[in-house]
Each structure stands twice: as structure tokens, then as C-alpha cells.
């Protein structure tokens, strides 16, 4: 599944932010805790030093109980077996809050009036749970701010930064090489997009000019062929007058004749395709499709006789289109011809004209045709066939020109070509 560019960047940002925060949270916790404890220890040592320097000398054994009475956090207690300072964690029950509070405690052996005592100083620590809670909360706030911020920034970016990109994209999507609407890409103040636009314009320009010269080539080639074809035809016409030929020679001349007329038709169809592409048939008018079909029905009925075909028609007389009359006739004729050409002896042709479509169905070979290349030039399903391979290409071209949709289907041994308008 493809995603929008912006989704991708946002997602990357978000994943990165969350990852960093997840890693950073415990680090932050430990670091804070360490700093806090170091600080507590320092304070304890400071108090100890103060005590050793200022208090201990004046302290009498008799004062110990008073000392202990007024100092909540520094007490002189009965000697513990200690050699030197020890700092450790301890918990004391807090009667006011009725819970255990964590403390950092420093014990130190001292001697007061020659008797061994233990100096015990403590500092209340923040509860681990509280600390973790605060950090989690803090991080949650940071994450939410980041997310909201990123989304807003991304949205802004999509509207501003990527705007020229999407404009370009839209114009390229609308571009069709056979239509003369070369996209005009607007300049932006972003270098990359300008480069992109310039490259695309160059690419389109080059392709269009190649396309045009190729189109011109086909048209010119077809035009240039007209004269030698005319000479060829005229010479055959002259030759067959000149003497009595044997029947065999007649047959050779006859097939020469057929070939030249086939060449001729092929050439004319190529020219027709070029002309359609060159927009030579852009005049449109309202055409009764019923009349257009009826007009040539006789001709094609005659053509169909050779194969003994039955033509059935179901024509809605009121259907009309707004299209070029020449091309519409050519479309109908080619559909007719196609249905005759690829038919079998004693076959059928069914022509149905409904209010929004024209369908030619014909019997023919029992397998469906390969649909994907059907409408390409010279795409013949059977290379030995009489057709010149341009009929369906012409049909498609005309349909495209009018924004009609042409479809092929195969059912109940009938091949159907349907034009929806």
C-alpha cells in the first residue's frame, strides 16, 4: 500500500521522537536520582564536617539527650560497631503521613568525652515512585506537545512547502501527449522544485517533439507513397489492356491488382489516423446515429452476402450524438467491417443502438480475443487475415476523441464491441 509522502515523513519523525523519549526516560530518571543522591550525600558530609568542626568539641555527654531532642535529623546515638563513615539508604516511618519515607543516612563513630558514640545524620529523599511519576508525566507532556507540533508543522508543510510539488503532479497527470495541451509549470522559490519542473518541461518538450515528428513522418510517408502507388495502379490498368494474356497471367495481374488496392487502403487508413491525430476533424454537429447506420446498411449487407451472414439490427431511432460526421461514419463503417471480416460463413451480426451505447456483436472464432493489445495498430489476432490491422486502432482513436468508451467482450460465442457515449 502506498502512502502519501507527508505521512511517511511524519511517521518517521514520530517514531524517532517516541524512541528517543522511551530511551531517554529511564536515563533521565537514573541521572536525576544520582544527582539528587549525590547532592544529599554532599549535604550530609557538609553537616558532618560542620559538626566535627564546631559542635563536637562543646558537646558534653549530658547534652546528648537535649541535642537529640531538638535535632530531628542529626542524632547522637549509642555506638554502633563502626570503624569509619558509612552512607546508606534507610526507611523511617513518618507518623504524620503514616508511610515509610526513604532517607539517606550517614553514620560516623565519634567520641564524646572519651566515650564512643555514633553520629547519625539523615536527609529525607523524594520517593522513587513520585520521582518516576513526575518524570513520566513530564515526558507524556513533551510527547504530546511534540506530536501535536509535528502534525501541525507537517500540515503547514503540505500546504506550503509541497504545494508546488502537488501542482506539478496534477499537471503531469493531466498531460496527454497526443493533445496539444503542454502543461505550464509555475516557478517556485524552492530550488529543487524548480529543477524538477524544468526537467519535466524539458522531458515533455522533447517527447512532444519526437511524437510530433513521428506523427509527421507517418503522414509524410503515407503522402509520399500516394504517387508511386498511383503510378503502380495506372501501370497495371494499362498493362491489362495491352494484349491477350493467358489465364495464369491474368491471375497474376489480378492478385497484383488486389495487392495494390490493399496497399492503397492501408495507406489511406494510415493517413486517416494521422489526420485524426492532427485534429483535422474537429468540427462537430448533431448526428443521428440511426441515420448514419441506415445509410451504409445496404453496402455492408452486400458485403456480408459473400459470407452469407445475417445482419440483425435493433436500432433506437432517436439516438444522436454531437460529433464529427465524417469520423462517426468511419467509426460505424469500421465496426461493421470488423464484424464482417472476422465472421464465419453463415454467421450473424447483431447491431444494437440504445440510448447510450452502440454494440456490434458477431459470431467468429470460438475463443475470446486477447483484449489488451486489441486496439493497437497492426495488432492482428491472426496474421494471415485480410484486414490491415488499423480498423480497431481507428475505432479506438475516434472513440477517444469523443470521450466515448470502447469495450470488447465475448459471450455465447459472440464477440462484441461496444461504444458507450
Amino acid at each position: 500500500m502506498t502512502k502519501k509522502l507527508l505521512h511517511k515523513t511524519s511517521r518517521a519523525y514520530l517514531i524517532f521522537a517516541v524512541l528517543i523519549l522511551i530511551i531517554a526516560a529511564p536515563l533521565f530518571y537514573f541521572l536525576t536520582e544520582k544527582l539528587y543522591i549525590d547532592d544529599a550525600d554532599e549535604a550530609l558530609i557538609l553537616r558532618k564536617n560542620e559538626f566535627l568542626q564546631f559542635s563536637i568539641a562543646q558537646l558534653k555527654e549530658a547534652d546528648i539527650s537535649i541535642w537529640n531532642k531538638f535535632n530531628r535529623d542529626i542524632k547522637i546515638i549509642v555506638a554502633k560497631p563502626l570503624q569509619k563513615d558509612t552512607i546508606f539508604y534507610s526507611y523511617y516511618y513518618d507518623t504524620l503521613n503514616s508511610e515509610n519515607e526513604p532517607y539517606r543516612e550517614l553514620n560516623l563513630p565519634v567520641s564524646i568525652e572519651g566515650k564512643p558514640y555514633t553520629y547519625s545524620a539523615r536527609i529525607n529523599l523524594v520517593e522513587t515512585e513520585d520521582l518516576m511519576k513526575s518524570i513520566a508525566l513530564l515526558f507524556l507532556i513533551i510527547i504530546s506537545l511534540l506530536l501535536v507540533g509535528l502534525l501541525i508543522i507537517n500540515k503547514r508543510l503540505s500546504q506550503n512547502l509541497w504545494k508546488p510539488f502537488y501542482e506539478t503532479l496534477q499537471k503531469i497527470e493531466q498531460f496527454e501527449i497526443d493533445k496539444s495541451n503542454q502543461p505550464k509549470l509555475t516557478n517556485t522559490n524552492i530550488e529543487e522544485f524548480n529543477r524538477l519542473n524544468q526537467s519535466i518541461e524539458k522531458l515533455i518538450e522533447r517527447n512532444t517533439s519526437i511524437y510530433h515528428s513521428q506523427r509527421e513522418f507517418i503522414e509524410n510517408a503515407a503522402h509520399e507513397l500516394q504517387t508511386p502507388l498511383a503510378v503502380f495502379q495506372a501501370k497495371i490498368d494499362t498493362l491489362i489492356q495491352s494484349a491477350e494474356f493467358t489465364e495464369q497471367q491474368n491471375q497474376i495481374l489480378s492478385s497484383l491488382n488486389d495487392s495494390v488496392s490493399r496497399l492503397n487502403r492501408l495507406n489511406k487508413n494510415l493517413l486517416l489516423l494521422s489526420k485524426i491525430e492532427n485534429d483535422n476533424y474537429n468540427e462537430k454537429q448533431t448526428i443521428s446515429l440511426y441515420e448514419a447506420i441506415e445509410k451504409h446498411l445496404d453496402f455492408f449487407t452486400e458485403q456480408a452476402k459473400a459470407k452469407n451472414l445475417i445482419i440483425k439490427t435493433e436500432l433506437n431511432e432517436t439516438v444522436s450524438t454531437n460529433s464529427n460526421p465524417v469520423l462517426t461514419e468511419i467509426l460505424i463503417s469500421n465496426l461493421f467491417l470488423n464484424a464482417i471480416r472476422h465472421n464465419i460463413s453463415d454467421g450473424q451480426i447483431v447491431v444494437i443502438l440504445s440510448s447510450n451505447s452502440l454494440t456490434f456483436s458477431n459470431t467468429g472464432q470460438p475463443q475470446p480475443l486477447v483484449a489488451d493489445k486489441l486496439f493497437n495498430r497492426f495488432a492482428k489476432s491472426n496474421p494471415s487475415e485480410q484486414g490491415n490491422g488499423l480498423g480497431l486502432a481507428i475505432i479506438k482513436k475516434i472513440a477517444d476523441l469523443n470521450n466515448w468508451k470502447i469495450t470488447y467482450s465475448f459471450a455465447d460465442n459472440f464477440h462484441s464491441f461496444s461504444v458507450a457515449f
Partner: protein, 225 residues
């Protein structure tokens, strides 16, 4: 009948001239605009065959020159160039017919005959051949002064055959003639046989001689023997 052929392709011009020669036409040939203008200024022609793409200019110049000199010669444009615009321009400039290359010589011949008939008889024209009489305007055919039942297409075929008397007509040439605008759509020429057969029978039933000869493997020929 005197024709002027204005065509720069020598081979084609020769074929046209040799084909027309047998049908009581005198066909003069020029291959450029300048000579053509010289000719039309001096002589009168029954028909001018005009190619449009000439080495020293566009064939439309001839049409303009004819107009300038108030000449009424019939002109058939024979051109490889075929767009609706050139056709319309040709007709607007006074051309009478337009034949796109390549064409069959037999087709050219009947077009010339039709044009000359139209010009000379102002549309009221009859074509007669021995016992056959064709009234082109009313689309009727009489054999030995008796009207026969005949379709438009058969009249067309009959005119084509008579017009090309003594010429061998290939099946494809006949098929293309009969199909008119739809000639490009032809897939096979078998229908020609049916038309010829019908026409032959109708003429025979009316007591007409058998003028339509079959040239085996190739086509047909109208011949009086």
C-alpha cells in the same frame, strides 16, 4: 475531345494518356504551372486534369487563371493530397470534380465523360450505345426503346462499362467504382460478380446483345463484336 493533363509525374501522365487515347480523346500533357498557363491561354479544352502539387507552384493557380480569363473548361483535380479543406478550396475555385490518387484509369475516364456530358448538355443527358439508351437524369434505361427494370447501381455499372468500352476492367476497379465513398472499406470484391450477373441477365432478357465479356481470372470487358 481535347484534354489537358497537368501532371508532373511522367510515368503517371504516360499511362493516363495511353489509356485515354483509345477513347477518342486527344490528351496534351504539361508538367508544370508555367506551361499549363501558356496552354490554357491559347487553346480551348473540353476538360483539364489538374494535379495540385506542381514543381513551380500550386495547381490552384490554374483555377484562378481560368477564372481570370473567364474560361469555362471543366476541371478534375487529381491529387495525392486529400483533406476536406483542399477539396472545398478546389470546388470553391471552380473545380468540377476531385479524384484522389491513386485511382483507376477507368474511373478517371468515366469521370471525364460525366463531366463533359454535364458541361455540354446542361444536365439533360442521354447516353446511347447501339440498342441501349440511358437517361442519366431520370435514371432510366431503354433497350430497343423499351424501358427495363434496373437499379441505380446497375445503371452506374452500365455507364461505367460502356464508358470504358473495349477496356479490360479488373474486379477491384469495378468494386471501387461501385462503392464510391465506401471504397476504402472494401474487404473483398466478390459482390461484383453478382452485380455483373444481374445486369447481364436484365440486358439479355430485354433482347440486348451480350456485350459484357468475362476476362478469365481478371475481370470484365464491354465489347461489341
Amino acid at each position: 475531345m481535347k484534354l489537358l493533363l497537368i501532371e508532373d509525374e511522367k510515368e503517371l501522365a504516360e499511362s493516363i494518356r495511353s489509356y485515354l487515347k483509345g477513347n477518342s480523346f486527344i490528351c496534351e500533357w504539361v508538367n508544370n504551372l508555367k506551361n499549363a498557363i501558356d496552354k490554357i491561354s491559347i487553346y480551348e479544352y473540353d476538360c483539364i486534369l489538374l494535379d495540385l502539387m506542381l514543381p513551380d507552384g500550386n495547381g490552384f493557380e490554374i483555377l484562378k487563371e481560368l477564372k481570370r480569363q473567364n474560361k469555362i473548361e471543366g476541371v478534375i483535380i487529381i491529387s495525392a493530397k486529400e483533406t476536406l479543406d483542399t477539396r472545398i478550396e478546389g470546388f470553391n475555385l471552380g473545380a468540377d470534380d476531385y479524384l484522389t490518387k491513386p485511382f483507376h484509369l477507368s474511373e478517371l475516364l468515366v469521370r471525364i465523360q460525366a463531366l463533359i456530358r454535364r458541361k455540354n448538355f446542361k444536365g439533360n443527358n442521354l447516353v446511347a450505345y447501339n440498342e441501349i439508351e440511358i437517361d442519366i437524369r431520370s435514371k432510366t434505361v431503354k433497350v430497343k426503346s423499351k424501358k427495363i427494370d434496373i437499379t441505380k447501381k446497375e445503371i452506374d455499372l452500365l455507364l461505367y462499362l460502356i464508358g470504358n468500352e473495349n477496356k479490360v476492367l479488373s474486379k477491384s476497379a469495378i468494386a471501387e467504382h461501385l462503392s464510391g465513398d465506401m471504397a476504402d472499406m472494401l474487404d473483398n470484391h466478390d459482390f461484383v460478380y453478382a452485380h455483373i450477373k444481374n445486369l447481364k441477365n436484365k440486358l439479355k432478357d430485354a433482347g440486348c446483345s451480350d456485350y459484357i465479356k468475362t476476362v478469365y481470372g481478371l475481370g470484365y470487358k464491354w465489347q461489341n463484336d
